[in-house]
Amino acid sequence: MADQATLNTVAAAADASRGSLSGPRGNRPRPLFSTRNIVLYGTLTLAAIYYLVPLYVMVVTSLKSMPEIRMGNIFSPPVEITFEPWVKAWAQACTGLNCDGLSRGFGNSIRITIPSVIISILIASINGYALANWRFKGMETFFTVLVIGAFIPYQVMIYPIVIVLREIGIYGTLSGLIVVHTIFGMPILTLLFRNYFASLPEELFKAARVDGAGFWNIYFRIMLPMSLPIFVVAMIIQITGIWNDFLFGVVFTRPEYYPMTVQLNNIVNSVQGVKEYNVNMAATILTGLVPLIVYFVSGKLFVRGIAAGAVKG
């Protein structure tokens, strides 16, 4: 209305006459090169460089030929780009008995990782759900044992487990290694799931019980659909953990089942002939590729899952 407009102008004029229009107003401007900004971005940039330089050296070296590497400029980009080392690392490098590169190890790692991840997450999520939502006799004890399990160093248990697996008759087989990975993933994953399920509203669980849903119905139809972020977190933890595992792979399998990490070690540490740095670099990158891809694809969900109460007590 005209009245209102007039009032506004009058008010503005009054403000102007008092000089208040020239005073601070709205967002406070922040200078671009303040100490705060320099420290903040400076630290972040340094940290980023610190982590990225080794990766850069690896990629660059893997694309050089051996004569070029011998010139010794490890930071200079390749003069002549060659993919020969990558092909060799994947298909021809010699590891002990056979000379078919990392491809065999890759296959083994896949066959170890996929079942281990699925089985361990399935069991751990059910454990966590039971611990968080259902009261049962001995749950305190069970929980304490699990928490202790998370802190016992692996090395202590290796020999006993070797004996147990031998007695069962699966020592040295893929399934033996899968069982080991599942067991060792259990404490931390169960804690993770328990904390997540405990952070979901309790009334939801009560409502489902009043609606007549039992243990499995609540788990599959109420809890699971709400827990995608935490499943992604668990998957990332397990995939990277199991893929990068070296110790269990050496101890619990025979050479024909060695995972990629063990093969990588055999390639890099082979004592015969010249050190082929470019092949070693390519092989290392190839081995690290799977966890790297997993992070890139699911990084967003990972952060969301962590934020969604995964780390809350």
């Binding site: 509203p201 009334e203 939801l204 009560k206 409502a207 009043v210 007549g212 849903a213 119905n217 709400m226």
Partner: protein
Amino acid sequence: MNTSVSVKDLTLKFGAVTVLDKLNLDIKDGEFLVLLGSSGCGKSTLLNCIAGLLEPTDGQIFIKDKNVTWEEPKDRGIGMVFQSYALYPQMSVEKNLSFGLRIAGMDKAEIDKRVARASEILQIGPLLQRKPAALSGGQRQRVAIGRALVRDVDVFLFDEPLSNLDAKLRSELRVEIKRLHQNLKNTMIYVTHDQIEALTLADRIAIMRSGLIQQLDDPMTIYNEPNNLYVAGFIGSPAMNFFKGEITSADGRPAFVTNGVTFMLDGYRAKNPLQPGTKAVLGLRPEHISVDGPETVNTHQAVVEIEEPMGADNLIWLKHAGQSMSVRIGGNRRYRPGAQVKLAYDMSLASLFDAESELRI
């Protein structure tokens, strides 16, 4: 009338803490019972025990004359509505409503019929395909009520269903719940800490404090004749004015003296004979005191300290008998601080409590 829900000697302990102590409660068929109390008084715990979500340490629970103490929640013939609505976030409204029925393996046609009936009663028909996240608080709570409705239960349990809503929606839904009860005539047990909800909805109110029922009566009795000091102070907003003093007799009639001020107790309906010399507490509700009205046997002078106009009402705070007291008067009657006023009391509406036992005299 038949009893619908009956709680006998119910005791619940969490470790060393006793939450409910030998609690007994009979709820009539079709009754709307409100469990009222401040937080931590055990009202929600009692409701969870009735629902079967908590196992009692001792005691029994009967629903429709059947001992359900060991039954699963789903077998008790109850439906429950929660404060946080507790809708399944990944399911549409329709799926939320039908979840219990689908679990029970009911046939599709019957499910559809029940969902349609519930959505008609609660007017949530247009929302059926939406997810809970796309609903407002009031709509969510309506769906939560619908979830109890479709299961065709004998007893509805409400656990502070309106506490998460804003004031306007709360009063709207309150009326709706009352209407629902009048239409369905089911037994309803309703937990709240809001005395307005309790007074407006209940057939009877059970006021709880530290696991014990302090008083179980219809709202008017609770308001007019509180059993003890706690109930008197809990019910009523603004709170009842209390005066500590002694029962005496003046001119052969019972009276109450505090700080040298005498209140004649003419018209007070005492439960027990008034013994002069008893230490007592006199309770007067702000709305039962008249200001500048006709003179009575109890007419005192007081000075206005503060005025709180609230639109319909005007609350004035006075200095009287050495303490501060509030009086509620009509919204159009205004008093400036410092004004001298004449107070008169209706002793038939007053409450008198024993100072020691805190029980009504």
